[in-house]
Symmetry: C2
Subunit: 342 residues, 2 copies
DNA sequence: TTGTATGCGTTATCAC
DNA sequence: GTGATAACGCATACAA
């Protein structure tokens, strides 16, 4: 590919002048600027970002490591991040951790080697050596969706506690008492928080906390299915199964369907996360919706601020309950939101 | 961040030796290798991929530009590409064209500037100047899923003609005669091919081709919805609506639901693409499934071959019909595949 | 306004 | 087996 030298030679100027044209320096005659530009077009010249980055020590790229690219929650998040980053002049490099710490580390490693200007991380499980390196090496880092305790890293995430409380109250009002929760891994902040919120909502509503009704999956469909099977095989199965994310809801549906059971007559269902197709289930799924767009937007802003050495503070946004009909709701045709207590 | 110089100095060797350790050169004593390695660990040294790439003229990355990151078909594809690429020692940079030619060009441009070793492109619409540049600049390029005529670029894609013929026969056998098709943009190879296959399948089955029953959407949900509305408002609405991709099926469902219509009693539905949640619709969606994993895998192999200057030929894989119950199928409890004529 | 020269971090070529 | 050193493509301080 043509380099700056080729352009310079062909335009009869020095490489410095070409560089000035590239960077829109004011100190260059319109006349020469035009000539250089013409040569660039003629040669189909594209500046070498690799060389430029080496020189300027900035790549104008940020890394985004998501938990699972097959999870619509994360792809929506990626989309929001990408849009906001582009608007801020950054390109986004997406890494798919596939919920595996070692694969997360693989991406932290390569993105660090690629010298991204900053890193957005949805941490998978525990603190890994590479993540510590990143923090230590003072690469701008922001946690997204999930957070890791014990590290001085700002985070942008949603808090579902209020929405979970709303959900439990809603279920209670519908007459349900035996509510099971398929939570996420205890190693993930999202897993822990949702479990804690569920348990405290239960007690708050005067419902007993039955240990056999709370089990941690891994945020993937298969675990949702196997745990649902176990729950349904209980001597006293739950009336409602609440899943900690949308993929485990898919797994739960698989199992329910395989057994020829009906929702909500045989077992009611609700899910954390809201995704487009939940609307089209029969019955439509009652769910907890996260402000995905905002999360992505704010995370990018926080990271860009950190890159620019401006102060950043963590942000927590509320999730909200979206009532549909998978829990035995009646008399309602559409859906409605409940943000406050009923 | 620590550089090769810091390591060299601290280990009491030259940068050349450190470089040799980095590249596992045999000509270095185990003793010094160990010492250098120790210093690297101590400093948390990560080689600068930017500098290395500048020197070696290889980034060990490939670019992947997909049509729409919110489309599960493309995320599955991205996942497959990522897995295969990593196995081959490459990192993948994902760009989301969002079905917009100018955004596709944005990514072609930045990925070219980043000097990716090769590019996997699911072309959005027509040939753009930048794509021509890429071809001209002889950057290894492979088309994925979609192809562009008039360019000497290998492609990896699925052919749905046989599956579409199977579908039309299947519908015919079920007694349907008025079948509408919401196709993709005529500018896309996938849009054109599926339309052509549909039309020829119709005639082959002795069914009339009614122009008002064939309209092109843009592969996004909104267009699926609006075209469905138009079809249902026709004096003689179709008995079956077949959508050209899964997002437009989502849009069609939105409209059908909004009208309080039932599938398949009021209108039958089938979709190109098969996605996990199709199983959980009521009734489950009859669909055409593409060999996504294989497409991703083969595309990476083709691109790696091109990068290595090995000869490459285009590959076309067959899609297949998956019969479920959204078209009025009866007496079947599960799903079944029809690869041949009935 | 433009050109010359230096260096960014690495690899590779040549000596020793 | 190891060490100087040039070069990759670009941006920039300094000179002209």
């Amino acid at each position: 590919m043509a380099s700056i030298k080729d352009v310079a030679q062909r335009a009869g100027v020095s490489v410095a002048t070409v560089s000035r044209v590239l960077n829109a320096s004011p100190s260059v005659t319109e006349r020469t600027r035009a000539r250089v530009q013409a040569v660039m077009d003629e040669l189909g010249y594209r500046p070498n970002a690799v060389a430029r980055s080496l020189r300027t020590d900035a790549t104008n790229t940020i890394g985004l490591i998501i938990g699972d690219i097959l999870n619509p929650f994360f792809t929506e998040l990626a989309r929001a991040v990408d849009d906001e980053a582009r608007a801020a002049g950054y390109s986004v490099l997406i890494g798919n951790a596939d919920e595996r710490p070692e694969q997360q580390d693989h991406y932290v490693g390569t993105l660090l080697e690629q010298r991204v200007d900053g890193l957005l991380l949805c941490p998978t499980a525990e603190i890994t050596p590479l993540v510590e390196d990143a923090v230590r090496g003072s690469r701008p880092l922001v946690f997204l969706d999930r957070t890791l305790a014990g590290l001085d890293v700002p985070s942008v995430r949603a808090d579902g506690s209020a929405a979970i409380r709303d959900l439990v109250r809603h279920l209670r009002a519908l007459g349900h008492r035996r509510i099971a929760f398929i939570s996420g891994p205890a190693l993930l902040s999202t897993g822990r928080e949702r479990t804690a919120a569920f348990v405290s909502a239960l007690t708050e509503c005067g419902l007993p906390v039955r240990p056999e009704y709370v089990e941690a999956g891994d945020f993937q469909a298969a675990s949702g299915r196997s745990i649902t099977a176990r729950l349904l095989d209980l001597p006293e199965p739950p009336e409602v199964i609440f899943t900690g994310d949308n993929l485990m809801a898919l797994g739960a549906l698989d199992e329910i369907r395989a057994r020829g059971l009906r929702v909500p007559a045989d077992v009611a269902l609700a899910s954390y996360d809201d995704v487009p197709w939940f609307t089209h289930l029969d019955p439509p799924m009652t769910a907890i919706s996260q402000p995905v767009q905002e999360l992505g937007r704010l995370a990018v802003r926080a990271l860009v601020d950190r890159i620019g050495d401006r102060p950043v503070r963590s942000v927590v946004l509320p999730a909200r309950l979206v009532v549909r009909r998978s829990c035995g709701e009646t008399g309602e045709t559409g859906e409605s939101e409940r943000s406050g207590p009923e």
